[in-house]
């Protein structure tokens, strides 16, 4: 059963395995268009909210939620950056989707708080201002969030 290989050869083979695991981990990512689409949708929702028509805001929120619900499950796991590979859940970790949704809930709260703050400050378009601020966080912070997921996956993989 035992192979005639030296410990050095075994170590080199294990290094190869670790390197290839890290190559797959590098593929854990969400498409850029998701973050940009989310940010633009967020701003649009803020702008519509500032128009002051409750039913229009409610309808836009529902449409935004429906579109996001149809897109997010496909991309928010971070396992399908391209159509050339599906990273295994074991390697990517099972909680990436929940992490993204939790971040969106926090950003939603931040938008509301920012809107109230801007309104108290006398801004004419408080929701738009707050949503633009959050949109910047989405575009810049989204990729950072996935970088942290990759970092955690790499730590798990080499343990």
């Amino acid at each position: 059963m035992e192979a005639q290989i030296t410990p050095q050869e075994a170590r080199a083979a294990l290094d190869t395995v670790d390197r290839d695991r890290l190559r797959i981990i590098e593929e854990i990512e969400m498409p850029r268009w998701y973050w940009w689409g989310l940010a633009l949708g967020w701003i649009a929702l803020g702008f519509i909210s500032d128009l002051g028509h409750a039913w229009v805001t409610a309808a836009a929120t529902l449409i935004f939620g429906a579109v996001h619900a149809s897109v997010a499950p496909r991309v928010a796991s971070g396992r399908h950056r391209t159509q050339r590979l599906s990273v295994s859940e074991e390697l990517a970790g099972p909680d990436t989707f929940l992490l993204v949704i939790a971040a969106l809930i926090v950003l939603g709260c931040l938008t509301v708080a920012g809107g109230f703050a801007a309104s108290a400050d006398g801004a004419r378009n408080p929701a738009t201002i707050a949503s633009m601020f959050v949109a910047v966080i989405i575009v810049l912070g989204g990729p950072l969030l996935l970088a942290s997921v990759r970092h955690r996956a790499a730590r798990r993989a080499v343990q």
Partner: protein, 103 residues
């Protein structure tokens, strides 16, 4: 805990890389594997055929964009063999380390 079992079929470096890539994925397209391993189409086909014959890899050929793509995925037997092989490599390294510690 995976039983350590050195696998001669997996051990050659190109095949080990190929199986290690597939072990981290549900599936990977032929082109992805070719680019990552820097192999020619024919060389990768040969490696995949060897693994497929051993029952370690399954090749799907879904139709997309009117083009037939080849997707490879590790079978349960392939994943088990890979995990056993990695465990065997670790045993070799660990036993060498423990001998060195005693000296």
């Amino acid at each position: 805990m995976t039983a350590a079992r050195f696998d001669e079929l997996i051990h050659p470096s190109t095949r080990l890389s190929l199986v290690a890539l597939l072990a981290g994925a549900d599936w990977a397209e032929f082109a992805f594997l070719r680019d990552r391993l820097e192999l020619s189409d024919s060389a990768l086909s040969k490696q995949l055929s060897t693994l497929e014959e051993a029952g370690y890899v399954h090749l799907d050929r879904p139709l997309r964009d009117r083009r037939r793509r080849v997707r490879a995925r590790l079978t349960d037997a392939g994943l088990g063999a890979f995990n056993g092989h990695v465990a065997a490599l670790r045993e070799i390294v660990d036993s060498a380390d423990s001998v060195r510690a005693l000296v």
